[in-house]
């Protein structure tokens, strides 16, 4: 596993936060270190994952898709978890940690709404107050998830400014935390943010990769490649964590290319900078102003990326590709038609790249992280005539 030195992955990461939050960051780091070593805490997480989340999720051999694309495609079915995406793995872990720290109020950001729904569910279960910040555009295009969060007892704050998407939601969540540092835990949904978040979220998500590695041994000792979409990059880090030490397994991350000039492909088109507390690749202009992004997938529509991905890119251990809106939508429809599975539009970016790599290299055995289900996307995509 990538070593962290003072919260760094190589040169990336760190802790660039206003002084008001430093005490919270130091306390969180200590609490997470302590919880990691506590067998009782680990057992509580494991029980919650089994009985509330529904783990382990299947590793599904998509046979018709494999035949159509010319390889062997295995889908890690995170779409089958409770609340419908991998986000719940991290949400239950951090919610248990917050409760252990005596925090009664949780704030979270959400893009596609999956992290917001997962956090709302985890908080409802533990009796914690839950406030979710969501870009106003995302509230419109992921309407079903806004309703779900409210039903689960969360307060949803639509955020204006910028592209009215994930970046603005994170800004507002951090500002809330600055105003309420004592009572509140910020339950960040991806491997982004200041140390220890990138490390902690990866550890709560590594169950994806650990399970997949074990499950794949039924087929062969190892897959040739594992593939996941990357917005902030939590489902990808979770999957990669199970395979990173096995140099024979290729790691592929897939960024959202959007359409036209607009993109959210940070690792492919950005340069290093600091956003939301960490040094990582960043879509920014010459003055260091953060650029607005666009992708059909709200969950990938972010100008930053987790610092460990920046490290894996520069070290060459993982490779990062770009898939645009149209190619993702085509894969979305193909999985529906051939396998009877409706994927999230985010996960469809990873599927589209699997198709591309199999077209080049026939017969490859790949695991694709089906990070979430697509029910949330249907109203928006149908309204735009995209599916």
């Amino acid at each position: 596993m990538t070593a962290t030195h003072a919260g760094r992955f190589g040169v990336f990461g760190g802790r660039y936060v206003p002084e008001t939050l430093m005490s919270n960051m130091i306390a969180l780091e200590a609490a997470f270190d302590d919880a990691r070593r506590d067998a009782a805490f680990q057992a509580e997480v494991a029980t919650t994952l089994a009985h509330f989340v529904g783990r382990p999720t299947p590793l599904y051999h998509a046979q018709r898709l494999s035949a159509a694309w010319g390889g062997q495609v295995y889908l890690k079915r995170e779409d089958l978890t409770h609340t419908g995406a991998h986000k719940i793995n991290n949400a239950v872990g951090q919610a248990l940690l917050a409760k252990r720290m005596g925090k009664r109020r949780i704030v979270a950001e959400t893009g596609a709404g999956q992290h917001g729904v997962a956090t709302a569910a985890a908080c409802a279960r533990l009796g914690l107050e839950c406030i979710v910040y969501m870009g106003a555009l995302d509230c419109e295009r992921q309407r079903p998830n806004v309703e779900r969060m409210r039903l689960l007892g969360a307060t949803v704050h639509p955020c204006e400014g910028g592209s009215r998407n994930l970046k603005i939601a994170i800004n507002e969540a951090i500002r809330d935390w600055i105003a309420n540092p004592d009572s509140t835990h910020y339950l960040i949904g991806s491997v982004v943010g200041p140390h220890p978040y990138p490390l902690m979220v990866r550890e709560f998500q590594r169950v994806i990769g650990d399970e997949a590695r074990q499950q794949f041994t039924r087929v062969a000792p190892r897959p040739d490649a594992v593939i996941a979409c990357v917005g902030g990059g939590s489902n990808a880090m979770g999957l990669f964590a199970g395979f990173i030490e096995d140099a024979a397994v290729e790691l592929h991350g897939v960024e959202a290319g959007g359409s036209g000039d607009a993109t959210a492909a940070t690792l492919n088109h950005g340069r290093p900078g600091v956003l939301h507390g960490a040094l990582s690749y960043l879509l920014q202009d010459a003055e260091g102003q953060i650029l607005n992004t666009h992708s059909v997938a709200a969950g990938l529509d972010y100008p930053g990326v987790g610092p460990e991905h920046s490290f894996l890119k520069d070290s060459g251990r993982a490779r990062y590709h770009v898939v645009g809106d149209q190619e993702a939508l085509a894969a979305f429809k193909e999985l529906c038609a051939l396998e009877g599975i409706l994927p999230a539009i985010e996960s469809s970016h990873a599927l589209a790249f699997a198709r591309r790599i199999l077209a080049d290299r026939q017969g490859l055995r790949v695991i694709v992280n089906l990070s979430g289900r697509g029910d949330k996307d249907l109203p928006g995509l149908l309204a735009k005539g995209l599916v």
């Binding site: 206003p18 002084e19 005490s23 130091i26 010459a286 003055e287």
Partner: protein, 253 residues
């Protein structure tokens, strides 16, 4: 070049037996010309002037300064323009406030040389805590610039000692948890916190976040100086002169 250093500015205030006044203005707000005029007005009463270089995603700022930054950016405000507009001012000393990404974007060394050449005395980088500040601190020291430190009420006692002991120029005390913007009043604990920090710091201690009226200066009387930002920006956006806010404060010092 700035004729007066930050240290000299505070010495002059002490000699005159009053607390220092540190207005915050946003570069390029409400317009480039409006900023230049406000800068001249502020200079008549200020001991140090803090100039914000607008950033797209300011985490520690409330709605008033966020909106000012967004408007200034929309009008094309850049670091180069800001340096150009402050370069003519001989006194009081100017410190910039901006995000670490704006500093790193063109390289820390380059940033330090550019602001030095414009006669700027130093900078406040709110999202650069002590632990991450080593390399920028050395660049600044090499150029004779001051990197100002911040303290918050949430800062733990040991950390408070470390930061206060190494503070240069002045120590920026965040009055209370939360983003920048108006607070109606300050509880007694805020004054106790100011006193505690004053015992630890050799540098003058200035309070910011929510300072807008003479009552605040009276409530926090032990501070060496007061930073006022959102109240000025609000006046500017209502078409009023910043002196309407600064004069009563100045008289209370």
């Amino acid at each position: 070049m700035a004729a007066v250093t930050i240290e000299q500015a505070f010495e002059q205030a002490v000699a005159a037996k009053r607390r220092a006044l540190v207005p915050f203005l946003m570069s390029g707000f409400p317009t480039r010309q409006g900023f230049s005029e406000a800068l001249k007005e502020a200079a008549t009463l200020a001991d140090v002037i803090e100039v914000g270089v607008p950033f797209s995603d300011p985490l520690a700022d409330g709605p008033v300064i966020q909106a000012a930054a967004a408007q200034a950016l929309k009008q094309g405000t850049t670091l180069a323009q800001t340096l150009n507009d402050v370069a003519g001012l001989k006194a009081p000393p100017i410190v910039l406030m901006l995000s670490i990404n704006q500093v790193l974007s063109g390289g820390a060394q380059n940033f330090a040389s550019r602001i030095k050449a414009a006669g700027v005395a130093g900078a406040i980088v709110p999202d650069l805590p002590l632990e991450e500040s080593g390399s920028l601190r050395s660049e600044f020291e090499a150029q004779g610039l001051t990197l100002l430190s911040m303290l918050a009420p949430t800062t733990a006692p040991q950390r408070m000692k470390t930061i206060a002991a190494s503070a240069k120029g002045f120590l920026y005390l965040i009055s209370s948890a939360g983003v920048t913007g108006t607070r109606e009043t300050f509880p007694p604990e805020t004054l106790a916190y100011v006193r505690r920090v004053k015992q630890l710091s050799r540098a003058p201690v200035c309070v910011g976040f929510g300072i807008s009226k003479p009552e605040h200066v009276k409530q926090l009387a032990d501070a060496d100086g007061f930073i006022v930002g959102s109240a000025l920006i609000k006046a500017q956006s209502q078409g009023r002169s910043i002196l309407e806010v600064l004069q009563p404060l100045s008289q209370a010092l």
